[in-house]
Amino acid sequence: MLFKRLKGLFSNDLSIDLGTANTLIYVRDRGIVLNEPSVVAIRNHNGQKSVEAVGHAAKRMLGRTPGSITAIRPLKDGVIADFQVTEKMLQHFIKKVHENSWFQPSPRVLVCVPCLSTEVEKRAIRESAIGAGAREVGLIEEPMAAAIGAGLNVDEAAGSMVVDIGGGTTEIAIISLNGVVLSDSVRIGGDRFDEAIVNYVRRKYGSVIGEATAERIKKEIGCAYAGSEVLEIDVRGRNLAEGVPRSFTLNSDEVLEALQEPLSGVVQAIKSTLEQSPPELASDIAESGLVLTGGGALLRDLDRLLTEETGLPVLVAEDPLTCVARGGGMAMEMEESKRIALSF
């Protein structure tokens, strides 16, 4: 214990956005220092498993691995699906951000978790971080961290609504006086968008594309609003009938069609939360608007869709991808000045 504390002198406080798609680490006084895919490549050699690659290197292997290597995404729907692999991944990332340290790092870590995580899921995250070398582990609800990171007035007696669309889940919360008044979490996120595109392409073009290609399509031409400018992209996939690679052109209207189902799920969840919100807070939200964070907020014209569907001003936070991790770091600083209570 004493040795851990001593090692803590040489470690920085970390805020980790342990996301389904990406893991971001915010280091105090340094900002976002790591933004890598939550992917681990495992090599299986005669029954002995070893970590082959983590992060970007492992993601490049997704769908391209030989039999002895498996690229795993250890988090699913915002929670840990593979405990041991998550621990290894965290260990790798924590070491990576302490590259210049002489000692094995032992930082205080704040991990952002989905707001409807069960106690078992929270415990798994805690133990995983401890196993990765953390000295102390605290948890913060993702929408709370997102709101702080986006720069919302979380400590005022005024309602703020934040929608964090991550890789695995969409977190919706109404926040006032440093607390979550109302929250909801749906298991729809960037991964579901990719999956919808893969299914659409298979249905319409009879071709199979990988998740990485689907993600590229979403990022480059994906849109959420019918009146948006139409963009096109050339895609190569394996034709199911012929069994050979074929290329075809996909446009943004088709992507919109593909995304209809997951998008309507997100819209429905937001509407449901708004219906339950106390009237005073609803009034505040109608005045100031709803703030979008997370990678999903970068989907073209998603704000327009939500504006039309909810009748509220919908605003996209600056740098929405890093809001949660930054917010976690800022929450640690707020805790020091006793403005917020974190469960370490």
Partner: protein, 297 residues
Amino acid sequence: MSESQDAWRPGEQLRKLREEANISLDSIAKETLIPFNKLQCLEADEYSKIGKPVFVIAYIRKYAKSLGINSDPFVEQLKLHTGVENSEVGIAVDARETTKRFKAPKIPALVLIPALILLWLLSAWFLKDEPEDVLPVSAPSPAETVVDRPAAEAESGTSKAPTNPDIDQPAAPESTDSPLSEFSEPEIVEEQEVEEQEDSVEAYIDEPAETTTSVGEGDDILVISFFEECWVEVKDANGAVIFAQLQNAGDNLRLSGEAPFNVMLGNARGVDLLVNGRRISTEPPAGRRTLKFDVGP
């Protein structure tokens, strides 16, 4: 505010572009659902009335988007503008900048590790001088130097100290002519007792036994009287430990050897020390009880 700065105010610029496009503010409010009064504040560049920077930036982006123009230059200008007039809107756009205010100084390992080593060395050196913490390492077996032993016991030969056969018994009377006879403490050291003490020192101290026996050959004599409990360690000129033991109040110690002696006293105020009959002050420095010194013949 200068004219050039006015020209770059984002709200003002957006208003001009809107008027050029012949679009009413009301229609922008309807499209973006941003409250009309907030759009008015935005056009007037009164950001503090809008709210937190996140809203100001987002409103500018939505406003620009509704006009069909790129919002990035306006947001950049806002950041620049509010950077100049931070007090007006209190914008801190980048969280990394705000965190610098909370920067806690970290001790670099390069400084901390040598400092810890230095501290350890200093404490080790300091404790070395503290007799309370010093264990008598291979100290010679203590001599039964109790001079006030009952005479009957001494006479009956029940003393624990065996007699050294190397010492000639007649030597004792001769010793009265030796420097011992010049001691100023005849009330403590009686002739017979001195003999017994010599015997006992020789008997219990293996190495210094030779030194003791050379008393008659004109070696230097060290006498210490204890009126408080005190640890004592004495080395001769060769650095050999003559004596090292805890003495009780009332004990008297007489040692012979080659001066200068190196004497270490654990409770320097509790002893009276004579070298060759010369009284030596054993007053320790202020705040200390211990004293280590060399004393010549």
